[in-house]
C-alpha cells in the first residue's frame, strides 16, 4: 500500500501506540485484498459486546483504552447482548453482565457512542452518495452501499475499531467503482406484501449466489419499495449471500437501467416465495417462541405490531420478544405502541438483538424451546448454532402463532 506522510508518521509512532497498532493491522488486511491505499472515513459502526468478544476481547479493549486509544471519527455501536432491565429475569449471567458494563464504559472512554443498534442507518446516521464509511453489521453495510450509494466493506469489530482510531480504512471492495456493478439480474414477479416475503427473496437470491462480490440487480417490481422492505431484503442478502450491495432499478442511486441489465437472469414468482414458507420443518410443533428481531424493529414495524396485537394476548406459556433500539422505543412509548404490546404480553428488549443474547443456549434449554418463529429471514438463518429449529412466517401469521399457540 502507498502511504501518505501522515500514515508514515502514524507507523513511526508519532501519534501514539494504539493508533500505530491499528494502522499496522489495517495494512495487513488491506494487503490481503490488494488495496493500494487508504481512504478517509466519516462514520464508523462497530460490533462490541461480551458475548462475541469474550474475556480475550475485553482484555484487548481494556488494553487499547489504557494505551490512549480514542476515536477520531463519529463511532457508534451495533446491537449488544444484554438489556440490563431484563437480564436477570432472562437468566443471563451476572458475571457476564458486570463485564458488559465494563466493556460499555471502556468503549465510552474511547469516545465510542454506544447506540446499541443494528438499524443505525434508520435512526442514527445516513451517509450520502459516495461517502466512505466503515460499518460493521452486514445489514447496515448492504443498506449503506445499495440505498444510499455510500461506500463500505463489511468491517468486523476490530477492523471497525481500527478505522475509528485511524480515521481511515483500506480502499478495496465496495470503496472501488469496479466492484459496484451488478453481476446478475433478478426479476421480481411476486407481490411481496409482507416484510417476510422480502427476506425470502434475500434467502433465494443470497443462498444461490453466496459471494461477497455478487451484486444482484432487482427489476420488474410493480411499485416503489419502502425503507423497511429494502431493510429486510438487504439483511437477508447479506446474511445468506454474504453480499455487500444490490441494485434496484428505479430505486437505488447506482442501479443500471432496465436495458443495461447483466446477462445472467433469474426470476422470482409468488410460487418460489410460497415454497420457501413450505420448506420449514415444524419439528415437534412447539409454537411457544415468536421473535421480531434481527434486525431491530423500526418505528413503523412497531406500529404494525401494535396494530396486530391490539386487544389480543400472547398464549399463556408462550414468549414473544420484540427488539428495538432506544430511539424507536422512546417514540413507541410516546405513541402508545409500547403499552399496547406490553399489555398483550410481549417482551420488548432494548439495544439488543435476540440471536446475540448472552446465555441464549442455556435460555433455550431452560425454557425447553425447540422452535423459533420469526418474520425475519435473517434471524431464521443465523440462530441455528444455538440449536433452534427456525421457521419463517409472515408478520400477521407470527402474531397469530404467538396468540393461538398453534404452529402452521
Amino acid at each position: 500500500m502507498r502511504l501518505t506522510p501522515e500514515e508514515e508518521a502514524i507507523l513511526g509512532g508519532v501519534q501514539g501506540d494504539a493508533v500505530r497498532r491499528a494502522l499496522e493491522y489495517q495494512i495487513e488486511v488491506g494487503r490481503f485484498w490488494g488495496a493500494t491505499r487508504f481512504v478517509p472515513v466519516t462514520s464508523v459502526h462497530m460490533m462490541g459486546d461480551i458475548e462475541v468478544m469474550g474475556d480475550a476481547g475485553l482484555a484487548y479493549l481494556r488494553d487499547e483504552a489504557a494505551r490512549g486509544a480514542r476515536c477520531r471519527v463519529a463511532t457508534t455501536t451495533n446491537a449488544r447482548c444484554m438489556d440490563f432491565a431484563h437480564c436477570e429475569r432472562l437468566g443471563q449471567d451476572a458475571g457476564e453482565a458486570a463485564k458488559e458494563r465494563e466493556l460499555i464504559a471502556t468503549l465510552r472512554r474511547m469516545d465510542v457512542v454506544t447506540t446499541d443498534t443494528c438499524i443505525n442507518y434508520q435512526t442514527v446516521y445516513q451517509p450520502h452518495l459516495g461517502e466512505h464509511v466503515a460499518w460493521g453489521d452486514t445489514g447496515t453495510v448492504i443498506y449503506a452501499n445499495s440505498v444510499f450509494g455510500a461506500r463500505s466493506n463489511f468491517e468486523a469489530g476490530p477492523a471497525a475499531l481500527a478505522a475509528a482510531l485511524t480515521g481511515r480504512t483500506p480502499e478495496y471492495g465496495f470503496h472501488l467503482d469496479e466492484h459496484r456493478k451488478g453481476t446478475f439480474a433478478v426479476e421480481l414477479k411476486a407481490g411481496l406484501q409482507d416484510l417476510a416475503d422480502w427476506g425470502a427473496v434475500g434467502k433465494i437470491v443470497g443462498e444461490s449466489h453466496q459471494n461477497y462480490y455478487a451484486v444482484p440487480v432487482f427489476h420488474g417490481f410493480g411499485r416503489s419499495p419502502t425503507a423497511d422492505e429494502l431493510k429486510h431484503l438487504g439483511a437477508a442478502l447479506a446474511s445468506y449471500g454474504s453480499m455487500g450491495m444490490f441494485h434496484f432499478v428505479g430505486v437505488t442511486p447506482e442501479a443500471p437501467s432496465v436495458d443495461a441489465l447483466p446477462r445472467e437472469r433469474i426470476s422470482i414468482s409468488e410460487n418460489e416465495i410460497q415454497n420457501i414458507y413450505r420448506s420449514y420443518k415444524l419439528g415437534d410443533g412447539d409454537a411457544r417462541l415468536v421473535v421480531f428481531s434481527g434486525p431491530q424493529q423500526s418505528l413503523f414495524e412497531m406500529k404494525r405490531l401494535a396494530e396486530l396485537f391490539y386487544g389480543r394476548k400472547i398464549k399463556p406459556g408462550s414468549t414473544c420478544v420484540v427488539t428495538t433500539n432506544s430511539a424507536v422505543l422512546s417514540q413507541s412509548e410516546k405513541l402508545g405502541y409500547r403499552k399496547t404490546l406490553e399489555s398483550a404480553g410481549v417482551t420488548i428488549l432494548e439495544g439488543v438483538c435476540f440471536y446475540i443474547l448472552q446465555n441464549l443456549s442455556p435460555m433455550r434449554e431452560k425454557n425447553r424451546w425447540t422452535n423459533m418463529v420469526s418474520n425475519s429471514a435473517k434471524i431464521v438463518n443465523i440462530i441455528g448454532a444455538h440449536r433452534f429449529n427456525t421457521i419463517l412466517r409472515r408478520t400477521a401469521d407470527c402474531v397469530e402463532i404467538a396468540c393461538s399457540g398453534v404452529l402452521r
Binding site: A56, F154, Q210
Partner: protein, 121 residues
C-alpha cells in the same frame, strides 16, 4: 506455514451461525459438518456466510484454545480475513481445484500462504 488434519466442508461457514463457540463443534442443525469439531483442524470452506462475528469470535476461540489451525476458503469475505488476521490464524482464498477431488477429512495437510500452495502429506 501450518500443518494439521484436514476438515473439508461442502457448505460455507460463519462462527456465529454455525459454530458452538464454547466447544468448537459445528452445531447448526442441518449444516453439512454438523457434529464435527473444528479444533486444530485445517478447515476447507467453499464460501463465507454473512455476519461480522468472526472479527472478535476468532480471537475469542483462539484464546479458548478451540480454534482451527488455518482457514482455507474457496471464496471468502472481509470479515473472515479481518478476524483471522486479528487472531493470528492463517487464512487463504482461492482454489484451483475443488478440495473434494484431492483431500479427505483426516488427511494431514500443509498450508503455505506465502507460496500459495497446499500439500497433502
Amino acid at each position: 506455514m501450518v500443518e494439521g488434519e484436514a476438515l473439508v466442508s461442502e457448505e460455507g461457514f460463519s462462527p456465529r451461525y454455525d459454530l458452538d463457540r464454547w466447544t468448537g463443534v459445528i452445531t447448526k442443525p442441518g449444516h453439512k459438518l454438523e457434529g464435527q469439531s473444528i479444533v486444530d483442524r485445517i478447515c476447507f470452506f467453499p464460501t463465507a456466510k454473512g455476519g461480522i462475528a468472526a472479527g472478535w469470535a476468532f480471537y475469542d476461540i483462539k484464546w479458548k484454545k478451540i480454534a482451527p489451525k488455518a482457514f482455507v476458503f474457496g471464496v471468502t469475505n472481509p470479515v473472515m480475513v479481518q478476524g483471522a488476521i486479528f487472531a493470528g490464524i492463517p487464512i487463504t482464498e482461492g482454489w484451483d481445484r475443488h478440495p473434494r477431488e484431492l483431500v479427505r477429512n483426516g488427511d494431514h495437510v500443509r498450508v503455505d500462504p506465502a507460496r500459495k500452495v497446499i500439500e497433502i502429506l
